[in-house]
């Protein structure tokens, strides 16, 4: 394997002993990428950038935050009022969590639409689902740290989910709390884990990228790269495209941070935690609402918790539920319709999760939950058998250049 020729002698000296420059050249420069990627492929690198933003702002916030029930709320208010640019850093971190989920949810639905979870990318997909789970745990524990009313009661409700486990449930909840209710020991350990888990996410992201670079990106046609005429080097083509996408993203992100910083938060979290009074409407952060709707849709405590975890569990086994060999929805007419139904279902569940559990909202939540599991457990395996896909192009170049390959089209001309 011959590496690139670096002109700088110091770079050459280092690279000979520690081939980091060769590695970067392979994976970020010449890395062959399908030439037909659309803008939905921007969200992977965007998620990585948001993760870095969250790490930097989080480490800085930890320099000013006090993880103690008597001081946590005050220390957050001090960050907002007294620490230089504390308001900015905290608003970036708090809204960054929401934007992280927006970016990652788009990234996931892109994968669902274009069949990016199919062979040979099953492990890549499963690592992605693991990242989602870690993100949820991290976001949940981060939301507890300001020690407002929503922090406290969110922590109470979510940790109590584990009490549904038969036999060991109560034992696990006490272990999570370090006491008989959510209290100072709970806040301490949540702070510790909230600091740890992002670095675990970084580790899984590295594995996610290693798995990605094994076979390269999927593409809107969902067919394999057949040769050099189907791909372009990652740099400068996709680095520039990703930078442009980042610029557009930052316009929206900065808009919210500067003009609507509390739009996605809940006013009750500006009331200090009170263990004796539950707020009238406990609502989790918006990115948990579809799962919360599924939890509440089922009238049995244990089954509700099981269904909530199963809603993510089905994503783990998705590569084996959808057996159709065609990846992209562009060539699957029926799958394509139901993809949009699933997206609408998830949007509806998000809306319902934020509504009180009564009347029509409960009925719709049940229908939404039913469809969600129907889609993954019955519809997708069924479609793999009954759907007739449209004919696939022979290569990525063919739809653009008319026939088979670039060479072949020249012959015809």
């Amino acid at each position: 394997m011959s590496g690139p020729n670096f002109s700088n002698p110091i770079v050459r000296w280092i690279d000979h002993r520690l081939p980091v420059f060769t590695f970067m050249h392979h994976e970020m420069h010449e890395y062959p990428t399908p030439k037909n990627l659309n803008y939905w492929w921007n969200f992977g690198s965007l998620a990585g950038i948001v993760l870095v933003i969250m790490l930097i702002t989080g480490i800085v916030l930890a320099m000013h935050y006090t993880p103690h029930v008597d001081h946590a709320f005050q220390s957050v208010e001090r960050i907002m009022r007294d620490v230089n640019y504390g308001w900015l850093i905290r608003y970036i971190h708090a809204n960054g969590a929401s934007f992280f989920f927006i970016v990652v949810y788009i990234h996931i639905f892109r994968g669902l639409y274009y069949g990016s979870y199919k062979a040979p990318r099953e492990l890549l997909w499963m690592l992605g689902v693991l990242i989602l789970l870690l993100m949820m745990a991290t976001a949940f524990m981060g939301y507890v740290l300001p020690w407002g009313q929503m922090s406290f009661w969110g922590a109470t409700v979510i940790t109590n989910l584990f009490s549904a486990i038969p036999g060991v449930g109560e034992w696990i909840v006490t272990l999570l709390w370090g006491g008989f209710s959510v209290d100072n020991p709970t806040l301490n350990r949540f702070f510790s884990l909230h600091y740890l888990l992002p670095f675990v996410i970084v580790g899984v992201v590295v594995l996610h990228i290693v798995a990605l670079h094994r076979f390269g990106s999927n593409n809107p046609l969902g067919i394999d790269v057949r040769g050099k005429q189907d791909s372009i080097p990652f740099h400068p083509y996709y680095t520039v495209k990703d930078m442009f996408g980042l610029g557009v993203f930052l316009i929206f992100f900065a808009g919210v941070v500067f003009f609507l910083p509390n739009a996605m938060g809940h006013p009750d979290n500006y009331i200090p935690a009170n263990p004796l009074v539950t707020p009238a409407h406990i609502v989790p952060e918006w990115y948990f609402l579809p799962f919360y709707a599924i939890l509440r849709a089922i009238p049995d405590k244990l089954l509700g918790v099981v269904a909530m975890f199963a809603s993510i569990g089905v994503l783990f086994i998705l590569p084996w539920l959808d057996r159709s060999p065609v990846r992209s929805a562009s060539f699957r007419p029926i799958f394509k319709i139901f993809f949009w139904v699933l997206l609408a279902d998830c949007v509806m569940l998000t809306y319902l999760g934020g509504k009180p559990p009564e009347g029509i909202y409960v009925i719709l939540s049940r229908l939404g939950t039913l469809y969600y599991f129907f889609h993954f457990l019955i519809l997708l395996p069924g479609l793999s058998i009954f759907e007739t896909p449209k004919p696939l192009p022979r290569s990525i170049s063919q739809p653009v250049l008319g026939s088979g390959t670039a060479g072949a089209s020249k012959e015809n001309a």
């Binding site: 109470t156 370090g178 008989f180 009074v277 539950t278 405590k301």
Partner: protein, 176 residues
């Protein structure tokens, strides 16, 4: 090869034995690291609360803190006690007679934590919604409790817990 058979068995034994010792050692080290998360000695030391119930007038309810959780002390009216007893126990989701839940029928002592997901039910104040059975109502996920704190409707699986308590004098209870 005869010696392969004998040698393989002995080597297998050493593999299994050392792996087992390793696993036992790992478990021994893991336990302190897990158990440190359980309630510490000072947390456990705060595990009892004393309360004088004589100040709680008939029809009134007071919330006491025990182990960081609210405890409801409700001085029930004759009507409420009657309602709590006039129930076909067999039809309850978590069957329990009212007499099993109180040591003095007029003074009901309950842990004020919904058995669903741990919210504090409403019903302590006269102005609170008390649900369809006049006891408590949990606003989080809509569980209704009766005047004995028993679950009647909603997602909660069990009755409001009766904490361990005793009268250490005529009017003072010790919870825990």
């Amino acid at each position: 090869m005869a010696e392969t058979h004998e040698g393989a068995t002995r080597r297998d034994f050493i593999h299994v034995a050392s792996a087992t010792m390793g696993a036992v050692g790992a478990a021994c080290v893991a336990w302190p690291l897990i158990h440190q998360m359980n309630p510490a000695a000072d947390t456990l030391a705060l595990a009892t609360t004393e309360f004088d119930v004589s100040g709680v007038e008939e029809g009134m309810a007071v919330t006491v803190v025990w182990r960081g959780k609210p405890v409801f002390v409700r001085h029930r009216t004759a009507k409420e006690i009657e309602e709590a007893n006039a129930v076909d126990i067999g039809n309850l989701p978590d069957p329990q007679a009212d007499s099993e839940r109180t040591s003095k029928p007029e003074m009901l002592v309950l842990v004020g934590v919904c058995t669903h997901l741990g919210c504090v039910p409403l019903g302590q104040k006269a102005t609170d919604p008390r649900g369809e059975w006049g006891g408590w109502f949990c606003p989080c996920h809509g569980s209704h409790y009766d005047t004995s704190g028993r679950i009647r409707k909603g997602p909660a699986p069990a009755n409001l817990m009766v904490p361990p308590y005793e009268y250490i004098s005529d009017t003072v209870i010790r919870i825990g």
